[in-house]
Symmetry: C2
């Protein structure tokens, strides 16, 4: 018997840019991105736009067409932008995926052509999966338009759609060709989405950057009052921390069992599913962080003062710390509609040993490999009580 | 405007083993592969078997079940192996892909579980695509059973299925968890497949290793007479050269425009499609090599002596140098059924500039970026004449 040990090293590079007015003709960012590969011919580009964006920015399709016309030496828009419904529903059936694959075929998009996705995280996930699987990968330009997509999901290396009722059951790890964050899109978000995206910033700050956490804490009121310059800093720093983690964690494609950035996410994913995505991802993450922070406090890992800072910040941002779905079937961990089933599903999605991140202080995460059901129940009870008290105030 | 430049480096490692009697209980190779990750629990494994293999090795499903029973501490076979039709047809519709995704869901396979594919290249491609896209990548163990799969496609980093009549329209780059080449399977191949797989060895030898080419040349008769030990050397060296190329070419996931290993493949891919896969991949590659070698000779790049060695070797291996589909619609490059359309499709699949590998000597490849239609036609005419002459002898 002979064994050849194969080693393959792949280096991916992509810019994550922060700008205003991406499709203004005098903004050369997008042009520069497509001319960076030194090729001289005009490149085909196909665009997909989130209906939520098109509604608030009715000129966006025309702006993209004008932009491509201005830079027609470099960019050939092969068809009018395709507008697709936003939100998690777009990931729930395979039809939009097939539509995109058909477009790749119809317009002869090759591996050096571009698919540009303009929208929230769900649209970016779906388009990203389509791009990653056509011809083994068409170049994907992400233009995230929500706080959540700009500060977290849109800058990373994942894509996916849902199947069998399971979030991201289908998907790949694939780096984008470029991420172009246009802050202008944030101004038209509804408050729920504006604030919801801050959850991921709280999460990454709690894991990695106490100074950033203090910034968010101090500026919670400004964020609630929709101060764009504060939000720009939050988005930028949050994206930067996520990018650092992906680049330097040693496991960008998550081949191991640990998923350090998924603090608070086991409950969040399950809660989204249990409420049929009525609770949005950012809100679910806020609740997930509240739950695991309360758990750590009740277990004696985290001080009361730190626990209060975390819960207080979430509340100050008008984000939820509790939802009634947390309490249903809470006494039967095996019930598929119990939040506790989320622990098993979280482990199953990644595989291997259950690995949950907890805090022993702000910026001091650590891993555990089992969770105490009774203590989770107590934490939920405590959060329910506190949320009732807060609402009644 | 601010730009963060993200760099992500991913290191993949996998063993490519060569053995006999892989599923014999005293062969510890497969057990060692699954225990290499140091995890202690028994790992779930789900198997897919090519019907062609099951036909010639009716005991294979039982052998796998016995093997897993013997090593039940490490391997939990979650279901009886699934037998699927082999050959390119398995890649032509999405149903088998969906069946595998359903199995992943039904049996709760996670990212640390194994899917083992036993079969020819088409089955490995389809199962590989299913594994790569479920939960963003279930561990894939490839057990290639044909010469072609053992010496080339099965050791690499690609998977895929066909759509819109285009080969590998859907697919990803994804490294396997392990490749286990069992030479025993080669003994039951029909002659067409036994010899067909040698085409890829000729190809890689012509590109990279004149000594290996001389070996194949010298041992052509032994290969025709089904000398297993000669074939084992051919498979091993060919696999090794492919692995070296993938590891050291600097572009394992083919982000550039060059695809050096695809010598002879632009015509081969098109010929398979034109004949609805009646011409098998290995045969098509033999013809593709014959065509591009004749082209290089006619263009004055390659000497007559070297040309004769290449064509002579293909003939000595009882492989084809011509097929009538090469000649249909040869005068209209735009006709979709003309072999010349294969040039455009080849460029489109990879993207960017057309890049074709030619030879200026054995082991001396070089790239061209355009091909002369008239000279391709002349080369086809020459090959047709020669193949008629050979057949009539």
């Amino acid at each position: 018997m002979t064994i050849l040990q194969q080693h393959v090293e792949v280096r991916f590079t992509y810019p994550v840019a922060f700008t205003h007015g991406l499709f203004d003709s005098d903004n050369t960012l997008l042009r520069n991105v497509v001319t960076d590969d030194q090729s001289h011919a005009a490149k085909k580009i196909y665009c997909v736009i989130d209906a939520g964006v098109a509604e608030h920015h009715p000129d966006v399709s025309n702006a993209i067409a004008r932009y491509c016309a201005t830079y027609s030496e470099h960019l050939q828009l092969v068809a009018p932008p395709l507008v697709v419904p936003g939100g998690e529903a777009i990931k729930n059936n395979a039809a939009p995926l097939h539509t995109l694959h058909e477009a790749v075929n119809t317009y002869g998009l090759d591996r050096h052509a571009y698919i540009m996705a303009v929208g929230g995280g769900a649209v970016l996930d779906m388009v990203g999966y389509a791009a990653a699987t056509a011809h083994r990968g068409i170049r994907l330009i992400r233009v995230p338009t929500t706080v959540l997509a700009q500060d977290d999901s849109g800058v990373g290396v994942k894509n996916g759609i849902n199947q069998f009722g399971k979030k991201n059951f289908l998907g790949t790890f694939a780096t984008p060709y470029a991420v172009l964050n246009d802050f202008t899109f944030l101004t038209t978000l509804e408050d729920r989405d504006w604030l919801g995206g801050v959850s991921e910033a709280i999460k990454v700050a709690l894991l990695k950057d106490p100074v950033f956490f203090a910034y968010i804490e101090t500026h919670a009121a400004a964020l609630v009052q929709r101060d764009l310059s504060v939000m720009e800093h939050v988005v930028y720093r949050c994206a930067q921390l996520h990018l650092d983690h992906i680049a330097n964690s040693g496991d960008p494609f998550e081949m191991g069992s640990s998923r350090p950035l998924d603090f608070g996410h086991w409950a969040a994913h399950k809660l989204e599913q249990l409420t049929d995505y009525a609770v949005r991802h950012g809100e679910a993450v806020a609740i997930g962080i509240a739950l695991d922070t309360t758990y750590a406090y009740q277990k004696g890992f985290l001080s009361e003062a730190d626990w209060e800072r975390v819960i207080g910040s979430i509340e100050a941002l008008h984000l939820p710390i509790y939802h009634p779905a947390l309490s249903s079937h809470i006494d039967s961990a095996d019930h598929p509609h119990s939040i506790l089933a989320g622990l098993r599903e979280f482990r199953e999605h990644l595989g291997g040993q259950l690995t949950i991140m907890l805090l022993r202080g702000i910026g001091e995460p650590f891993e555990v490999h089992e969770m105490d059901g009774a203590c989770i129940r107590d934490s939920i009870t405590a959060l329910e009580a506190r949320s009732r008290a807060t609402v009644s105030v």
